[in-house]
């Protein structure tokens, strides 16, 4: 195990050096490295999910204006890049903030949410899993996932024109009007890339809840690395890539599926992979209540706060759509949390900290695909539905089938994601997000949502099974019984909470 990994670092280093160096040169030469980049590939460039029309680029004017209000312009020769700023400082400010918020969801948010629910002997492994995934996926995303997801290619997978982030800055010079990426016209493409990167980080981190307290750390790293390329990248492309088969903004899409902020790309994706992983890794030998609900509370709080970046940030602008996305996020989350709490109270006689926190996360999950498309009514119904559904997912469903989804990755993210994705098709309001749902007479949208969800489930399940089977056959998925009994913290990491 160690040998394998001690070889990984230098290999990675060399590959990345070569890769980053090449486009590094191309930035400096200011030559668009990829003629197939987004603008050319855009018969339907702007997904309806993020369609804020670009303002007249303020900075072009600014550049012209500088000579007139000369007093600040004493910098002798302004380098090229700096004369080209972004069309909307406000949108950019919000998106920079959203990157910080969404990263905070994973570290420390999700790490703590999960960490409080494991036994004390495994809390270190649990939080470290979130942290290590953050690091690993960052590198992989910059190298290949961003390009595969967000550049034009085929309907099934994007191209390599942004591999190693090549050309991500130099294009901005073409015409001086800001980011030419049609997905985010008013902000720098670097910011859009960072924002999307944080989504690619949290998705595998969510999966880890399913196999907590028993998977090998090395196997986890291999799995997450492969999964984020083989599953996350194509699914993101299907829903959000300029020519994706399910992208509702792509005129050539086979089915226009709505997914505002990642109900399908992030949560169903993670939930299904988690279910498969829980089954293939097998049940824990022993289990028990989480060791510290205060950690879970901190995590849930930070997830909620950060989720404003996730959902309102998915408007890719600081305007009306972001405001309504924030509003419905808040409502659905509160409703789902109360729903879960009252059900548990009725059912077991006591409302629990972990219960209300789980309900809040369920609400956040379910409103995610809907957040730019529905209003307060939709948010309310989605909140109640996922509060009930995820409670059942984390209790009855799991018991009925007997798999050990340790921290309810499938029960909350899978079930909640599906409920949210389907109800988006029901409650979408033309006025808010551009697409009508069943309630406004567009029954077809519900069908589209079903097709999108179904396809992702099937693809995700198959590829996840293959990846895990390969790892199982090679380095193995699971720690030994002794390690599991003593706790992963001692045995795998040589650390223990005192």
């Amino acid at each position: 195990m160690i040998r394998i990994f001690s070889r990984l670092a230098p290999a990675l280093a060399i590959a990345a050096l070569v890769g980053f160096a090449a486009p590094g040169a191309s930035y400096a030469q200011n030559t668009p490295a990829a003629p197939a980049a987004a603008p050319a590939a855009a018969p339907a460039p702007a997904p309806a999910a993020k369609p804020a029309p670009p303002a007249t680029p303020a900075c072009a004017a600014a550049v012209a204006a500088v000579p007139e209000t000369d007093k600040y312009a004493a910098v002798p020769a302004v380098p090229a890049v700096l004369t080209n700023c972004t069309p909307s400082g406000g949108d950019t400010a919000w998106m920079l903030t959203s990157v910080a918020l969404v990263l905070m969801m994973t570290i420390p948010g999700l790490g703590l949410f999960y960490g409080g629910m494991v036994r004390k002997k495994n809390v270190g492994d649990t939080v470290m899993t979130s942290f290590a995934i953050t690091c690993l996926v960052t590198v992989i995303y910059a190298v290949v996932t961003y390009s595969l997801s967000f550049t034009g290619g085929t309907p099934f997978i994007g191209g390599l024109s942004r591999a190693f982030l090549q050309g991500i800055l130099s294009d901005v010079n073409n015409g001086g009007i800001g980011n030419p990426n049609a997905l985010a016209p008013t902000i720098p493409e670097t910011v859009y890339m960072c924002f999307q990167m944080t989504f690619a980080i949290i998705t595998p981190a969510l999966i880890a809840g399913a196999f907590a307290e028993r998977m090998k750390f090395s196997a986890m790293l291999w799995f997450m690395g492969l999964w984020s390329i083989l599953v996350y990248a194509p699914v993101a492309h299907w829903l959000w890539g300029p020519d994706g088969i399910f992208n509702s903004a792509n005129d050539a899409a086979w089915f226009k599926v709505l997914d505002f902020a990642g109900g399908t790309v992030v949560h169903i994706d993670a939930g299904v992979a988690g279910l498969i992983a829980a089954i293939m890794v097998g049940k824990r030998r022993d289990s028990g209540p989480g060791h510290n609900m205060v950690l879970t509370f901190i995590g849930a709080g930070l997830l909620w706060v950060g989720w404003f970046g996730f959902n309102a940030g998915s408007a890719v602008s600081a305007g009306v759509q972001a405001g309504m996305a924030m509003t419905v996020t808040q409502i659905a989350t509160a409703v789902a949390a109360l729903t879960w709490m009252f059900i548990e109270w009725a059912h077991h006689g006591k409302p629990t900290v972990i219960g209300i926190c789980s309900g809040a996360v369920a609400g956040l999950v379910a409103i995610t695909p809907a957040s730019g498309f529905v209003g307060p009514l939709g948010a309310f119904v989605i909140g109640v539905a996922c509060g009930v559904g995820c409670y059942l997912g984390a209790t009855a469903l799991k018991k009925a089938f007997g798999y050990d989804d340790a921290l309810d990755c499938f029960g909350v993210h899978g079930v909640g994601g599906i409920i949210g994705a389907l109800l988006t098709g029901v409650f979408a309001v033309q006025q808010y997000g551009g697409t009508a749902g069943v309630l406004e007479g567009n029954a077809g949208q519900f069908i589209n949502q079903c097709i999108g969800v179904g396809t992702v489930i099937v693809y995700d399940a198959i590829v996840t099974i293959i990846i895990l089977a390969v790892i199982k056959a090679t380095i193995g998925l699971r720690v030994s019984d002794d390690v599991e009994r003593d706790g992963l913290d001692y045995a795998l990491h040589g650390e223990v909470v005192q």
Binding site: M117, G288, H348, K350, T352, I354, G355, A394, T395
Partner: protein
């Protein structure tokens, strides 16, 4: 010399300590323990699963005393620790061969 070892409910500690001080016992050692007995445990709830917690928090008090006051000590503890409800705990008395005060090296009676 005897060691009087009592298992009591945690919230009775101060009362027991005061009762012992009142009869002239000025040293004791306390340990947090978990007790299993007739007293029904709690139920912990975790995402719709109920876990029975049969080991309840108790305190163990150990007091080394001269044999002649052991009974008085026992009585004092019983009086102070009793609530009358199940789970009040037990007192065990056993013999001590010798005692030493580390600081001074004093032995037996002088060490207590």
């Amino acid at each position: 010399m005897k060691i009087v070892m009592a298992i009591i409910k945690p919230f009775k500690l101060e009362e027991v300590r005061d009762a012992l001080t009142a009869i002239g016992v000025h040293g004791l050692t306390v340990t947090e323990v978990k007790g299993y007995g007739r007293q029904k445990g709690h139920t912990e709830i975790y995402r719709g699963a109920e876990y029975a917690v049969s080991f309840l928090p108790k305190l163990k008090i150990e007091v080394a005393v001269n044999a002649d006051v052991a009974d008085k000590v026992v009585d004092a503890i019983v009086a102070a620790a009793r609530t009358g409800q199940i789970g009040d705990g037990k007192i065990f008395v056993y013999s001590l061969d010798s005692a030493v005060r580390i600081r001074t090296g004093e032995k037996d009676k002088d060490a207590l």
